[in-house]
Subunit: 152 residues, 2 copies
């Protein structure tokens, strides 16, 4: 299964959320603005994150979302599985997939399992905190985009 915008937006939103949660709940509106994605689409994404208890919410004015655990206690794997379902490079090894009649003789099954394993291991090795560190680093070292105003 390829990771769709649901997963990529969601992960970026979680990083954004973590980086802006010093002063209470973070509204989807603010995340949507900073990340330049549809707020309505984010709503759907956060509905899933909430169901998996990765975030909690507070309604009304000054409301918004906040993380339910420390960033270093949240693996990227968890976030993506919550949004995309069990990740598998092929459909036949996916969660709800009906049993393949060829599974006993299929010579490619081993291969797909290895790839799924490699993906899972990579995702498990990253926590949300790791990505926050990465984000902060990039913030500092990014080419200055504000300066663009002057140059035309």
């Amino acid at each position: 299964m390829r990771i769709s915008t649901k997963g990529t937006y969601g992960l970026r939103a979680m990083i954004d959320l973590a980086m802006h949660s010093d002063s209470g709940p973070v509204s989807l509106k603010s995340i949507a603005e900073r990340q330049d994605v549809s707020e309505l689409y984010l709503e759907q994404i956060f509905a899933l994150l909430r169901k998996s208890s990765l975030v909690e919410s507070k309604r009304g004015v000054k409301g918004g979302y906040y993380l339910n655990r420390e960033p270093r206690e949240i693996s990227v794997h968890e976030i993506l599985e919550c949004l995309e379902g069990k990740l598998s490079i092929v459909q036949c090894l996916e969660d709800g997939s009906e049993a393949c009649p060829r599974d006993q003789i299929c010579p490619t099954r081993v291969l797909w399992k290895r790839i799924n394993g490699a993906i899972a291991r990579t995702l498990d090795s990253y926590t949300l905190e790791d990505l926050i560190v990465e984000a902060r680093y990039r913030e500092q070292n990014a080419p200055d985009q504000e300066g663009g105003d002057i140059l035309s």
Copy 2:
């Protein structure tokens, strides 16, 4: 990018082709029967394999396809890329994808690249020959399915 049936059928078909190419070209009809997939669909798949020179063909009676190289000289990666295009877990790192305006600051990019790398490395480590060995092994050790006739 998830690997679709195009890739999985194609890979299985290549294994099948390799295992039955002792006596000249192998027809798609025979592959389709053995692998239980649509012959017309296989045609589209083999059109791609031929364009990438992984197979060659001979028309007419006694015609069919044959491998252009030895199975151990053909990596699974090649076969799948030929059928699915450059494999990437996310669209933004895909081949024809337009440059992401956020690529300099995106904290998740590293992660996707790692996963793509892990997938590529796994696929590179398998040749068609490896899968043939796997297939022969499974052929021998599979639960006897012919016996089913007797038991109703």
